[in-house]
């Protein structure tokens, strides 16, 4: 068993959920999402975010719009679609269940 690998697998599992949660508060562009995920220490290398964002967008959970920026080229702002919100609500439930299950086992 490799501890680092196990940790990485755990993070990977919840990253998708975290991205949707960040976007549920307000629409952001990728660097805002990165900042939040880094502060929460759920992401190590930034590159991980981009394939996930594109996949979620292709699955219809996210949509994006281009917004002008004062500092450079236009930025892509992502937001949750109605489908994405439902998907997130579902994940919220299963997250609570998971936490409960783990707690139950640990404290028994």
């Amino acid at each position: 068993m490799d501890l680092e690998n196990t940790k990485a697998q755990m993070r990977k599992g919840i990253l998708e959920y975290c991205i949707l949660s960040v976007l549920s508060k307000n629409s952001c562009y990728a660097s805002d999402i990165i900042k939040e995920l880094k502060e929460a220490k759920v992401i190590v290398v930034e590159g991980t975010l981009y394939p996930l964002l594109t996949r979620q967008k292709n699955a219809g959970l996210l949509s994006y719009r281009w917004e002008e920026s004062q500092q450079g080229p236009p930025r892509k702002y992502y937001e949750l679609t109605t489908e994405g919100k439902e998907y997130l609500a579902d994940l919220d439930n299963s997250w609570e269940e998971l936490v409960e299950s783990v707690n139950l086992i640990r404290t028994r």
């Binding site: 990977k12 990728a30 660097s31 990165i34 190590v44 290398v45 930034e46 590159g47 991980t48 981009y50 394939p51 964002l53 594109t54 996949r55 292709n58 450079g72 080229p73 892509k76």
Partner: protein
């Protein structure tokens, strides 16, 4: 003294040292190969390029105007190696068989007049696009064959969207760095054969 190259990364323009450019090019090409099997891989690539450009931007000041190899190494460590980024296990098939320094034909959106087919062919063979345009025009006049070929090529050839694709379109430019690399490789093979 060092030679610098001027590049467009994610909509920003940078002056970058030649060694740093080679490293960046290698990294983007690896990423491109890594995501090759993925749906909308070019979108992922251009998002990553945009982020890298944003980070590199912060490395420049009034006194420091050129991107160095240290900046590129740092930005690569922030973004992560392809194998750390993707959740696919192991290298994809394409990665195993694709040679570095691949040379592919694309449509070139930067120099296009209609759809970028002629400019793309020009970039691929390193000839002036107008020569190809004249040939197409002549073929189009003589019975319309040129139009048909143009349409087919327009559909078949992908557009070069990312920096890595644009580099691939032109093939490896001949520069000091390439020559040094190939000389070193040659030397290593000789040394191995002689068992020194």
């Amino acid at each position: 003294m060092k030679i610098t190259v001027s590049i467009n990364l994610g909509g920003y323009s940078f002056d970058i040292d030649e060694d740093a450019y080679s490293e960046l090019k290698r990294y983007l090409k690896n990423l491109d190969l890594h995501f090759a099997g993925e749906e909308s891989s070019s979108e992922i690539l251009s998002d990553i390029e945009a982020r890298m450009a944003e980070i590199l931007r912060t490395k420049l000041t009034g006194y420091k105007q050129v991107i160095t190899i240290a900046d590129v190494t740092e930005v690569i460590s922030i973004m992560g190696n392809p194998e750390d980024i993707s959740d696919n296990e192991g290298p994809t098939r394409k990665e195993k068989f694709s040679k570095p320094g691949a040379h592919r034909m694309y449509r070139d959106p930067d120099k296009r007049i209609i759809g970028g087919v002629c400019s793309g062919m020009g970039a691929y063979w390193d000839i002036e696009p107008w020569i190809i345009r004249v040939i197409f025009f002549a073929l189009a006049m003589g019975g319309g064959l040129g139009i048909l070929i143009y349409l087919i090529l327009y559909v078949v050839l992908p557009e070069a969207k990312t920096t890595a694709q644009k580099i691939e379109m032109k093939g490896d430019p001949v520069n000091i760095h390439n020559i040094k690399d190939s000389v070193k490789k040659e030397f290593d093979t000789v040394r191995k054969n002689m068992k020194l």
